[in-house]
């Protein structure tokens, strides 16, 4: 790309003029949808990064088809990305989109069906299909268009393909950069920053490819300037002087592993967890780490347990069906007190379920899915930044408490992208070198402290520390013990570790007033949505607060006391619960959402719940309606 040309097109004056005529708005949700393989996601990610660099709040989430090569131009094949861009910090995917760029009309139909748009959504549609050789396609196109008009969408048919053809022979590769140019003009983006990002994307490619993509961007920018009346300005107010990073939750998990000092990740491919390992496969060598792709889920955790047993606390990354397969090994790690980090990127269940979609359906399975009593630490990440920091925390907890730690994230966090403050990693984040000093022979292999259940662990290689780890009931000396007291003592001690950890936790902070009519409790990736929805209800005069739990085993302290300050407590979750109004459902037989079940047992408070398993992330608009419905009932009952 020749710099002079860029400057001519994007001169300062030009930018200034552009801004003058732009309508100032607080936030917009933009979608780019296409058949898979057309680069919509790359376009959206770049648009998001430019936003973050301009100080905007950004939340990006990918729209993923369930099939690898879905047929072209079908609703099932809808692939793409949603970017929520605002003045302030964005914590969730928001409600209906304000503007969508569609590469064909069929993919739009899928998004309409899933409620992604409303009658005010602006649609910028590639009109290439109107003149397709195939009569069928032309008919489909005009029929769909009529459908969209009925729905109330504001559709602009644009010659996107035609414009791209002026620059490249096959716009399937390149159209995305043209669209990035269009969006950059529509939202008054800093074009130099965008060009910069394009250079980064194609850094490993030839000069020629970089310049062609710059050219496409420029053409899109000018095209929008001349042909699209919509022109907005979203001022970035989330700008800080702190250095920021932007990444997906799965990348954050991968980086968290690197920053924790763990050297082994053993995994088996499973959606939506695998991209964390993809990231590590690229970068783990920078810290001397190794990704082991095992022959199956059980072998993956077995390998990690072997490394941990030998003194190198390891990590295994999986999703729900993988957790089901790993259950026996997790129980072994709990029983034999082997430090271990297990990341569960939850997806829709039951069974194979909805591999690419979000659910918080594994809380009970991770808490209780094991023979006998298998206490373990369970943490849930609520933000992308948590995905990073909690991995490092998990490694430390696993070693200090000689226990498996399960970190729950989900498909929403896995693919969501959000900027956060760059972590300041120091050497003390890393594990200490494997201790190979002599073991004090008088200390038993499980020398449990009566108060805390904690004990020091001999590591292979330590002279005089020889012991045989077993998954059978054993005594303090690691010897198999079938007597009447040993198993009781072992279970007591392993459980006591959770109590000891629980003592170190803080009472969770309430979002909103410390007392009121309704307290909404959530966990995991729904944090941003629930807080935004709570704020809407509060702005409407309702006495609603929310509380978000990050430690689920042991449970954070002080919950009963907090709950009693509200007339009603309910959880909002993405997992199954019976609708209280459904046939046959009574107060007695109703099956509650997972956190609700745990909290009811934990606090003896009559906690209600609302949950869905649609596979979609919660939207603040829907959730604020749910909250307002519930709180109005209480107000009515006053």
């Amino acid at each position: 790309m020749n710099d002079i040309a860029v400057q001519q097109v994007f001169s300062d004056d030009d930018e200034l003029q552009a801004r003058d005529s732009a309508e100032s708005i607080r936030e917009h949700i933009v979608e780019i949808v296409s058949d898979s393989g057309e680069g919509a996601q790359k376009c959206g990610q770049t648009f998001g990064i430019v936003g973050a660099r301009m100080g905007n709040g950004v939340w990006t989430v990918e729209i993923i088809p369930a099939e690898i090569q879905p047929p072209a131009r079908t609703p099932d094949g809808a692939s793409g990305i949603r970017i929520r861009l605002g003045e302030e910090l964005m914590t969730n995917m928001g409600n209906e989109a304000n503007l969508v760029v569609a590469f064909n009309e069929q993919v739009l139909r899928a998004r309409i069906a899933s409620g992604a748009y409303n009658s005010k959504t602006i649609v910028l549609l590639d009109n290439m299909w109107a003149s397709d050789e195939s009569e069928d396609i032309r008919t489909e196109y005009s029929e769909a268009l009529a459908e969209f008009t009925d729905y109330g969408l504001e559709v602009h048919e644009l010659p996107i393909q035609e414009e791209c053809l002026k620059i490249v022979p096959d716009p399937r590769k390149g159209k995305n950069m043209f669209v990035l140019g269009m969006l950059s003009h529509i939202y008054s983006r800093d074009a130099d920053k965008a060009l910069d990002e394009i250079t980064k994307i194609f850094a490993r490619k030839s000069e020629k490819i970089i310049s062609t993509n710059h050219e496409l961007f420029k053409a899109g920018y000018l095209f929008a300037k001349e042909n699209i009346e919509h022109h907005f300005e979203i001022v970035g107010k989330a700008q800080t002087d702190k250095s920021m990073v932007v990444m997906s939750g799965n990348q954050a998990v991968g980086l968290g592993v690197m920053a924790s000092g763990m050297e082994i990740v053993a995994m088996y491919p499973i959606t939506p967890a695998t991209s964390a390992s993809h990231y590590l496969a690229d970068d783990f060598h920078r810290v001397g780490g190794f990704v082991h792709q095992a022959e199956d889920e059980i072998a993956a955790i077995g390998f990690a347990i072997g490394a941990s047993y030998a003194g190198k606390t390891a990590c295994t990354i999986t999703s729900g069906p993988g957790i089901a397969l790993k259950t026996e090994m997790i129980s072994l790690a709990a029983m034999a007190e082997i430090p271990l980090v297990i990341v569960n990127v939850q997806r829709g269940g039951p069974s194979t379920g909805l591999p690419t979609k979000v659910e918080q359906g594994d809380l009970l399975a991770t808490l209780f899915g094991a023979p006998g009593d298998s206490p373990k630490v369970i943490l849930a990440a609520a933000t992308i930044s948590d995905c990073f920091h909690f991995v490092a925390l998990s490694r430390k907890l696993a070693e200090s408490f000689r226990i498996p730690v399960i970190l729950l994230t989900d498909a929403n966090l896995a693919t969501g992208v959000q900027p956060f403050e760059r972590p300041d990693v120091t050497c003390d984040w890393f594990s200490a070198p494997v201790d190979q000093s002599s073991w004090d022979e008088s200390v038993l292999a499980y020398d449990w402290d009566e108060e805390t259940g904690l004990s020091a662990r001999p590591i292979p290689g330590m002279r005089n520390g020889e012991y045989v780890l077993t998954g059978l009931a054993h005594n303090r000396n690691a010897k198999i013990a079938y007597d009447t007291t040993s198993n009781q003592e072992g279970c007591d001690m392993r459980s006591r570790k959770l109590a000891a950890l629980g003592r170190t936790l803080n009472v969770p902070e309430i979002h909103g007033d410390p007392e009121g009519d309704l307290l909404v409790v959530g966990w995991g990736s729904t944090l941003g949505t629930i807080e935004e929805a709570t704020d809407v209800a509060r702005e409407n005069g309702h006495k609603v607060s929310s509380l978000h739990l990050r430690f689920l085993s042991p449970m954070e302290p002080g919950l009963e006391e907090i709950f009693k300050r509200f007339k009603k407590v309910m959880t909002i979750e993405i997992n199954y619960s019976d609708d209280p109004k459904a046939p046959l459902i009574t107060d007695e037989n109703r099956r509650y959402a997972q956190l609700a079940q745990v909290l009811r047992a934990h606090t003896l408070v009559d906690i209600d719940c609302w949950s869905v398993v649609s596979g979609h992330p919660l939207q603040p608009g829907n959730i604020s309606r749910v909250i307002i419905d519930h709180v109005t009932e209480i107000e009515g009952g006053k």
């Binding site: 810290v287 001397g288 190794f290 047993y309 760059r422 001999p458 002279r463 045989v468």
Partner: protein
Amino acid sequence: MFGLKSDWSLDTNDRYFTLDDYAGAEPRWCTGCGDLGILATIHRVCREAQILPEKIVSVSGIGCSSRLPHYMHTYGFHGLHGRALPVACGVKSRRPDLDVWVATGDGDCFSIGAAHWVHALRYNMDMTILVFDNGIYGLTKKQTSPTTPEEYQTNTHPGGAILPPLNPLTVSLGVTNVSFVAQMVDWNPPLLYETIKAAHDHKGTSFVRIIQRCPVYMEQMNLDMMDDPANLLLLKHENGILVPEGVDRLFENQIEHDPMNLANAMAVAADESKMPVGLLYRNPDALCYDELSNAGLDMIDEEKLAGVNDALDSFTI
């Protein structure tokens, strides 16, 4: 915290280990069980090599064989049924200094753990796998195993085992990157010693199937074989397992077999008219996965920190 001592050899010179130094708890196997002889042989191999007991990790699954770690005075991992091999691979993944032994059985290795058996052979990490094959489930009391002879009556097949038994040798030899496959009987102590010693000396995964007597549940099969050595075929070769003087007189059937020849090994293994004993196959040049998994082990904290920061740089906006 303490770092790794750089030179263990100093210690070695000061210490001499006897058989007792490798012996753990009193074995609880049945009288006459072949496992007892295998255990004694392992102790001897360790003693001869003067391995530091604290550097040995014996890993097992579940079954009679898998009690072995308890009978060793070394580090041990008595884990889950069928899952000894992934654990053993994990142990070795970042601890090249540890001497890893796996004790497993026909049920543990060839049935519930079959996937791991195939893949562990392919990884070829430096460890010694001893399969105690008695052709039956012993610990759970006489159920059919993958190597139970056809028509042999068990509690799950009272009318006799209905399938022809699995041939662990052809399966093992069929795995790409396999590097050491041997078969031996538990009742020939000198030959068993040489076999386990050769397996332990081999760099890579050594797979040894040991035909093991279970007088309680599988009297028939192995006693027949003991009574009539004509059932066995001794494999001899200068690159094979050393046959101690006088031992070869016990074998009326003997052949010269070059263990570098995979095609011949396959043919010997596939001929089920006789039970081959000795080294079927060895490839000292097969790729060892632990050499890959241990990459970066020597990295110091400052280098790791630089690595993390470089990685973070690529996400910084």
